[in-house]
C-alpha cells in the first residue's frame, strides 16, 4: 500500500449528502477485471452529459459544466470535501480506486459509509471524519477563497488551512494510522499471526465440527 504521511492540496467541495458508491462509479464500469482505469469514469453520470460505457474515449465526451469537479478553478484538486454518509451503499472497492485514480488523496466528510471507509483506508485513500461545523467551515472557505488548500498531517491527526489560520483534529484507529504511515501490507501483518490463527481455527473447528 502507498504510504500516507502528509499531503497538501486543492480542495473541491461536493455539496450533497448521501453520495453513494453507485454515483462514484456506476455499475457498467465494474465489469473490468483490473484494478486500474476507473479515474475518467469517477462520478460518470454527473460528470458527463451522455451515458458512459466501458471502452469509450472519455476525452471526447460532452462534459456537464454544472458539475463542480468540472469547474476550471477546481482542476487538479486532490482533496474532496463532502457531506454526511459519503460512500454509502454498495461495497464496490472500485469507488476508492476511481477516486484515487482521479487524483484524490483525501476525502473529508462528517461521516462515511462503513464499508467505503474501510475500503478507502485499505487503499491508502485517507478518509477523514470532521464535525459538522468544521465541514461547514471548510465549505464556506472553499466558496470564499479561490484556490483554497489544506494540509493533512496524518501522524498528528490534523487538517490545517495552508495559511495556518485554523486546524481541526481528527480521529483514526491507531493501528490503521500505523499501517498507513508505514505503507505496510495488511495481509503480511495478519499472516504474521499465522500461529494464533491456526491455534484458534483448530479449537474452533473442533468445538463446531459442522463448520469444517
Amino acid at each position: 500500500m502507498e504510504k500516507f504521511v502528509t499531503h497538501t492540496g486543492l480542495v473541491v467541495p461536493l455539496d450533497r449528502a448521501n453520495v453513494d458508491t453507485d454515483a462514484i462509479i456506476p455499475k457498467q464500469f465494474l465489469k473490468s477485471i483490473k484494478r486500474t482505469g476507473y479515474g475518467p469514469n469517477c462520478f460518470d453520470e454527473w460528470r458527463y452529459l451522455d451515458v458512459g460505457q466501458p471502452g469509450m474515449d472519455n476525452s471526447q465526451r460532452p462534459l456537464n459544466r454544472n458539475f463542480v469537479l468540472n469547474e476550471q478553478r477546481f482542476q487538479g484538486a486532490t482533496i474532496l470535501l463532502a457531506r454526511q454518509n459519503f460512500g454509502c451503499g454498495s461495497s464496490r472497492e472500485h469507488a476508492p480506486w476511481a477516486l484515487q485514480q482521479n487524483g484524490f488523496r483525501v476525502v473529508i466528510a462528517p461521516s462515511f459509509g462503513d464499508i467505503f471507509y474501510n475500503n478507502s483506508l485499505n487503499n491508502g485513500l485517507l478518509v477523514i471524519r470532521l464535525q459538522d461545523v468544521e465541514v461547514d467551515r471548510l465549505f464556506a472557505d472553499c466558496a470564499a477563497f479561490p484556490g483554497f488548500q489544506l494540509t493533512v498531517y496524518l501522524e498528528a491527526q490534523l487538517v490545517r488551512a495552508v495559511d495556518g489560520s485554523f486546524a481541526f483534529a481528527f480521529d483514526i484507529a491507531s493501528s490503521r494510522k500505523e499501517r498507513l504511515v508505514n505503507g505496510w501490507d495488511d495481509i503480511s501483518l495478519t499472516l504474521g499471526r499465522s500461529d494464533a490463527i491456526r491455534a484458534f481455527e483448530t479449537k474452533h473447528l473442533a468445538a463446531q465440527p459442522w463448520l469444517a
Binding site: K27, V51, D114, A173
Partner: protein, 468 residues
C-alpha cells in the same frame, strides 16, 4: 455483569487477537464469492504467491452479470463474459465449490448461500457485496467487504475489525395482512435514516420479527445496509432451525445436528443485554410502503403523498428533496397512488425467494398487466427457487398475466446485464436501492414489496395491495 447481545456473542466467539486500540482480528467461517468483486483479489493472491487459507470455506457463483433470458447459452457482452470466465477459471484452479452457469443451484449468492445451508447460525459470513447482511437472519454475523478484504480473507481466513455499536430495532405487534417484511424494513429505514445505522450492528427483534418466515427475516437483514449498518441480525429460534435442517451444507448426522442445535440455541441476546441504542416500531398499524426519492430513507406509505420541500427546514435535506424530485420527475404533494409506472421488476437478493414469488403470483392471478406497463419481469433468486415456483405453477400464472418469467440472477436490481431501465422510465421494483442510475442511467426506481410491485403492474400505478 450485564447480559450480552447476540452481536457480542457472535463477535467475541471469533476473536483471534485484539490490538491495543481495540481492533480485533476475527476469524471468518464462510466466504461467498461472485464474479464482480473477486477477480482483482484472486489476481492479488496469485501475484503474492499465496494460496487460500481454507478453500473449503469458499462458495462461488456468478450472479451480477448473468443474462436472465430464458434458455440463454452464452453472455453476449464480451466484457461481462470475460468477468464470468475469470471466475470459472479461478474456481477451477483453486478447486472451490462452484455453481457455474447451467447448474440449477446457481443464483444470487445471498439466496443460494442459505438455500444450500452454506450459511449457518453462529457463523461469520463475508462476501464482496454489501447485501451480505442478508445472512444475519440466521443469527450469523454477516457483512459486506471490499476487494482488498476479499483477498485478505482468502489469504488469512481473518479480517481486522473494529467492533460496532449495537442497536436493537424492536418491532412490536404483528404485521397486518398484506403488509410484509419489506414494508417493515422500509418503514424502519424511514425512521432511522439511511445513515442512522452507520457504525452499528442492527438486531431486529420483537413480535413482528419473531412471526416472520426466514424469507421475511432475510429481506429485513438484507436492507440493514440501506440504514447504514453493515450487519443486521435476528435471533435463532424454531423458524431458523426448521429452515436449516436437511440442507446440503447443514450438519448431516444426528450427533452433529444435536451438537449444533444445542450451540445455536444460545444465539439470542440475553434478557438483560444492553444495547447502545433501541428503536421501537409499532408493526401492527403499518401500511404498505413506497419510496418516492433517490435514497431508501425517502419513503412514505401508499396512503401518502410526495413530500413538499418547502416544508423542510434543514437546508441540506431540502436540497436533497428538491434534487430527488427533479430526478424522479415528481411534483410535490402528488398522491403516491397517482404515480404511473412503466416497468415492474420482481427479484433481487431482497425479494426473489419462493415466498416473494407466491405473494406476487397471488396478486396477478387471473388479472392482466396494465397497458401502460411496458415490461413486467419476474427473476427468481436461484435455479432451485425457479424450479420450486414452476412446480407450484407460479410461472404459468405470471405468464398468463403478461409478466415475463426469467432465469435467475441479480438482473435489474443493478442492471449490470441487459435488464435495465431506459432514461426516464419509472419502475415498481422489489430491489433494495433507488439510487440515481441504479437500474439504468436516468431510470426512476420505487422500492416496494413483491405484492405491491405485482399490484402496480396490474393497475398501472401504485395501489394499496392490502385493500384488494
Amino acid at each position: 455483569m450485564a447480559g450480552r447481545t447476540l452481536y457480542d456473542k457472535l463477535f467475541d466467539a471469533h476473536v483471534v487477537h485484539t490490538e491495543s486500540d481495540g481492533t480485533a482480528l476475527i476469524y471468518i467461517d464462510r466466504h461467498l464469492v461472485h464474479e464482480v468483486t473477486s477477480p482483482q483479489a484472486f489476481e492479488g493472491l496469485k501475484l503474492a504467491g499465496r494460496k487460500p487459507w481454507r478453500q473449503q470455506s469458499m462458495v462461488a457463483m456468478p450472479d451480477h452479470n448473468t443474462p436472465t433470458t430464458p434458455g440463454f447459452t452464452t453472455i453476449l457482452d464480451p466484457i461481462s463474459r470475460t468477468q464470468v470466465e475469470t471466475l470459472d477459471a479461478n474456481a477451477k484452479e483453486l478447486g472451490l465449490t462452484y455453481y457455474r452457469i447451467g447448474d440449477i443451484r446457481r443464483g444470487i449468492v445471498h439466496v443460494v448461500g442459505p438455500e444450500q445451508g452454506a450459511t449457518l447460525p453462529g457463523m461469520t459470513v463475508v462476501c464482496g457485496d454489501s447485501h451480505t447482511s442478508t445472512h444475519g437472519a440466521f443469527a450469523a454475523l454477516a457483512f459486506g467487504i471490499g476487494t482488498s478484504e476479499v483477498e485478505h480473507v482468502m489469504a488469512t481466513q481473518c479480517l481486522p475489525q473494529k467492533k460496532s455499536k449495537s442497536m436493537l430495532v424492536r418491532c412490536d405487534g404483528r404485521l397486518p395482512t398484506g403488509v410484509t417484511a419489506k414494508d417493515l424494513v422500509l418503514a424502519i429505514i424511514g425512521v432511522i435514516g439511511t445513515a442512522g445505522g452507520t457504525g452499528y450492528a442492527l438486531e431486529f427483534g420483537g413480535e413482528a420479527v419473531r412471526s416472520l418466515s426466514m424469507e421475511g427475516r432475510m429481506s429485513m437483514c438484507n436492507m440493514a445496509i440501506e440504514a447504514g449498518a453493515r450487519a443486521g441480525m435476528v435471533a435463532y429460534d424454531a423458524v431458523t432451525e426448521n429452515y436449516v435442517k436437511g440442507r446440503p451444507f447443514s450438519p448431516n448426522t444426528p450427533e452433529l445436528w444435536e451438537a449444533a442445535t444445542k450451540h445455536w440455541r444460545t444465539l439470542a441476546s440475553d434478557a438483560d443485554a444492553v444495547f447502545d441504542r433501541t428503536v421501537v416500531i409499532d408493526a401492527s398499524t403499518l401500511i404498505p410502503q413506497v419510496t418516492w426519492g433517490t435514497s431508501p430513507e425517502m419513503v412514505v406509505s401508499i396512503a401518502g403523498r410526495v413530500p413538499d420541500p418547502d416544508k423542510e427546514k434543514d437546508a441540506t435535506k431540502r436540497e436533497g428533496i428538491e434534487r430527488a424530485l427533479v430526478y424522479m420527475g415528481l411534483t410535490p404533494n402528488t398522491l403516491i397512488s397517482d404515480i404511473k409506472i412503466d416497468k415492474v421488476f420482481i427479484g433481487s437478493c431482497t425479494n426473489s425467494r419462493i415466498e416473494d414469488l407466491r405473494a406476487a403470483a397471488a396478486v396477478v392471478k387471473g388479472r392482466r398487466r396494465a397497458d401502460n406497463v411496458k415490461l413486467a419481469m419476474v427473476v427468481p433468486g436461484s435455479g432451485l427457487v425457479k424450479a420450486h415456483a414452476e412446480r407450484e405453477g407460479l410461472d404459468k400464472i405470471f405468464i398468463a398475466a403478461g409478466f415475463e418469467w426469467r432465469e435467475p440472477g441479480c438482473s435489474m436490481c443493478l442492471a449490470m446485464n441487459d435488464d435495465r431501465l431506459e432514461p426516464g422510465e419509472r419502475c415498481a421494483s422489489t430491489s433494495n436501492r433507488n439510487f440515481e442510475g441504479r437500474q439504468g442511467a436516468g431510470g426512476r426506481t420505487h422500492l416496494v414489496s413483491p405484492a405491491m410491485a405485482a399490484a402496480a403492474g396490474i393497475a398501472g400505478h401504485f395501489v394499496d395491495v392490502s385493500r384488494i
